[in-house]
Every structure is written in structure tokens, then in C-alpha cells.
């Protein structure tokens, strides 16, 4: 596949992710911050997000598995996950966290367990999509092309 085709594919894929709500404007911000002095910036931030999130999801599973659930602790973890997902533009994860926090407040164990499943689901979805997106970018760069800026005006 030649570079132009790959670039078009990337642009279409990125647009889809925005339209389906997986990513929001904050992700665009990150892309805009990437430059020649730091060409792996987005990959680095996204990787940090993956590491951070997986740890938090583990902590959450453990915390909700206790006989006496400490909802304050659960809430603190969700708050962190909400923060980092918001910072990279992972909109659906962020929204799932918002709902999760509401149920933490109510100390509703069944609902919070469902929320955890929902957050995990959204996380793995966006992880998959981001990995695909970043792989497409890598292929373009490897073929000597440049990554087109995401234009969202229409």
C-alpha cells in the first residue's frame, strides 16, 4: 500500500473514532503537541495511560472483591482513572468513570460491579483502537511519509 493510501486510511480511521465517541478533542491536543523534537510523544503518553489504567483496573477489582468494600478507596481509584482518560481524550472511558463515581457515592455494590465491567469494556475497546491508530501512524512513518494532521472541520 502506498503512503497516500495509508494516510487516507489513517484519516478515515481517526475520524471514525471521533464520531463514535471513543476519542475527543483532548486527543487532538496531544497530537498537536507532538513535534520533531519529540516525535513519540503521543505513543509515550498513551503507553503511560495503558500502564496506569491496567494497574487501576486491577486495584478496582481487588477493592470491589473485599467483604467490606471501602467505597472511598474505590472512588479514589475511579477518580484517577477518570482523570487520566480525560487527559488523553478517551471519552467513553471517562464517561463510564463518571457514572461509576455516582454509584460509589450511593455505595451500591451491584451497580459498582457492573460499572467496573463497563469501564473495563470501554478501556479495552479504546486500547485496541488506539493501538491500531498508532500502528497505522508507524507504518506511514516507516514508509517515509508524514502523519497528516487531523482536521475535524465540517
Amino acid at each position: 500500500m502506498e503512503v497516500g493510501q495509508m494516510q487516507r486510511r489513517l484519516v478515515d480511521y481517526t475520524k471514525t473514532l471521533f464520531m463514535e465517541g471513543f476519542l475527543d478533542a483532548q486527543f487532538l491536543q496531544l497530537q498537536q503537541l507532538q513535534d520533531e523534537s519529540n516525535p513519540d510523544f503521543v505513543v509515550e503518553v498513551v503507553s503511560l495511560f495503558f500502564d496506569d489504567s491496567e494497574k487501576l483496573l486491577n486495584d478496582l477489582s481487588m477493592a470491589l472483591d473485599q467483604p467490606n468494600v471501602d467505597f472511598k478507596k474505590v472512588d479514589a481509584h475511579v477518580h484517577q482513572l477518570k482523570g487520566s482518560s480525560s487527559s488523553i481524550g478517551a471519552q467513553r472511558v471517562k464517561n463510564a468513570c463518571i457514572a461509576f463515581r455516582n454509584f460509589c457515592e450511593e455505595q451500591n455494590i451491584d451497580a459498582t460491579l457492573r460499572c467496573l465491567q463497563q469501564v473495563k469494556h470501554e478501556y479495552y475497546l479504546v486500547k485496541n483502537k488506539l493501538e491500531t491508530l498508532l500502528r497505522l501512524e508507524q507504518q506511514i512513518v516507516a514508509a517515509g511519509g508524514s502523519i497528516p494532521a487531523t482536521e475535524m472541520g465540517f
Binding site: 475527543d24 484517577q80 482523570g83
Partner: protein, 218 residues
């Protein structure tokens, strides 16, 4: 005198780049804020806690706070919610220290809680930024900080230039969060359910110097 970014005002290549101390317990946020600041021509020291920040400033009880490591800090940006010492507690400690109280402190928070904003401003915070922090926020801060330095004595008290509203308290669940007026157009216009920037009309009395008028931040 117009100032667009720190680098535009200060002589290029001078050692007078603004030095910002960023405090946030989140790795992701530290990385992003560091990049935002570097791209705005600042020198950045990013630490993960209030305690580390105080250590860096030399305020942790160790002697020699003045000549600490010769690196003057021009601005402190701190997250509000951190384990151990919150950003608010850090703010108070800084404002109560004779050596560092003049350093502007900006609070960042993902939660847009009016009482929280008020207490931070009351305690002397320069601004309260709602996360996620954007490049336009940092650029505006640079302008304000540098202007402040250039026009000593013209300081008309603290201002909140812009607040973004993110309505966390609605159980909006998986639908997009409440959107307000659209953001101003840019070459890569934001898209989707993202909460847009909006101007806040303050409900506080106009004579209060701590909550001066809001104006177009962008």
C-alpha cells in the same frame, strides 16, 4: 506591551526562561503538562507530590531555602486532588512562606466545584484551571505571568479568566457530557461530545476584587 508567549518577551536563548514547577500525582498528567510547558518555552520541573514540591523549594524544614539550587521558580502549577497533601494545602504553605509567597500558584482540577474554586482564590491562587489543561490555557498563563512581571504594581488582583464547565454531577452515563456553546473555530476544530469551553458569568458581587470580571480568554 503585547506578550504572546514567554519566548516572545524574554530575550531568546537567555537563562531567563520561565521556570515552572508542576505538581501532579498522575503520570499521564505530568507528562502532558510538561509538554505543554516546554512547547511554551518554559523550563519545567515536574514532581509527583506536594511534599516533593516543598522539598524542591527547600521549604520542607531543611535549612537553606533561599539559595536552594539557584533555580528560581516563576510559577507553580499544582493539581488539586492529590493523596497526602492536596494542592490546596500546598498553596497555603507556599502563601504562608515569606520566601515563596510571591510566586504565583495555579490550581488544576478535573472537578469544577465553585466552593473549591472560591477557597483556592481566597487563599491566593492566581487561577483555577479545569482539566484537561489545554495549550491555550498555558499560553494565557504565560501571558499573564510575564505581564505581571513586567508591570509590577499594576496587578489588579486575581482573575479567573475562563472556566470550562464539565457537568460531572449528572448521571449522563455513556451519552455525551452536557455540551455548552461551541468552542471558537480553529484549524482542527474539536469534534464530538467533548464539553466545549464557555464563558462563566460569575454570580459573585461585582465589587469583589477576588472575582473580577471574566473576559475572553482566547
Amino acid at each position: 506591551m503585547e506578550a504572546a508567549a514567554a519566548a516572545d518577551v524574554l530575550p531568546s536563548g537567555s537563562s531567563q526562561e520561565l521556570h515552572v514547577l508542576a505538581v501532579d500525582d498522575s503520570y499521564v498528567d505530568r507528562k502532558v503538562i510538561e509538554k505543554l510547558l516546554k512547547i511554551s518555552s518554559c523550563k519545567v520541573t515536574a514532581v509527583e507530590s506536594g511534599a516533593r514540591a516543598l522539598q524542591f523549594l527547600g521549604l520542607d524544614g531543611e535549612k537553606g531555602s533561599l539559595g536552594f539550587d539557584g533555580l528560581k521558580v516563576n510559577l507553580i502549577m499544582t493539581d488539586y486532588s492529590m493523596p497526602g497533601m492536596t494542592g490546596y494545602e500546598l498553596l497555603k504553605k507556599i502563601k504562608r512562606s515569606s520566601a515563596f509567597r510571591e510566586i504565583p500558584v495555579v490550581i488544576m482540577s478535573s472537578e469544577n466545584i465553585l466552593t473549591r474554586i472560591d477557597s483556592c482564590l481566597e487563599e491566593g491562587a492566581e487561577e483555577f484551571l479545569v482539566k484537561p489543561v489545554k495549550l491555550s490555557d498555558v499560553r494565557r498563563l504565560m501571558k499573564d505571568c510575564v505581564m505581571r512581571g513586567e508591570t509590577e504594581g499594576n496587578n489588579a488582583g486575581r482573575r479567573v479568566d475562563k472556566r470550562k464547565f464539565e457537568d460531572d454531577n449528572h448521571t449522563s452515563s455513556l451519552s455525551s457530557s452536557s455540551s455548552l456553546t461551541p468552542s471558537p473555530p480553529s484549524t482542527t476544530a474539536p469534534f464530538g461530545g467533548d464539553v466545549a469551553t464557555s464563558e462563566l458569568v460569575s454570580s459573585s458581587p461585582p465589587h469583589s476584587s477576588k472575582r473580577a470580571k471574566l473576559h475572553d480568554g482566547d
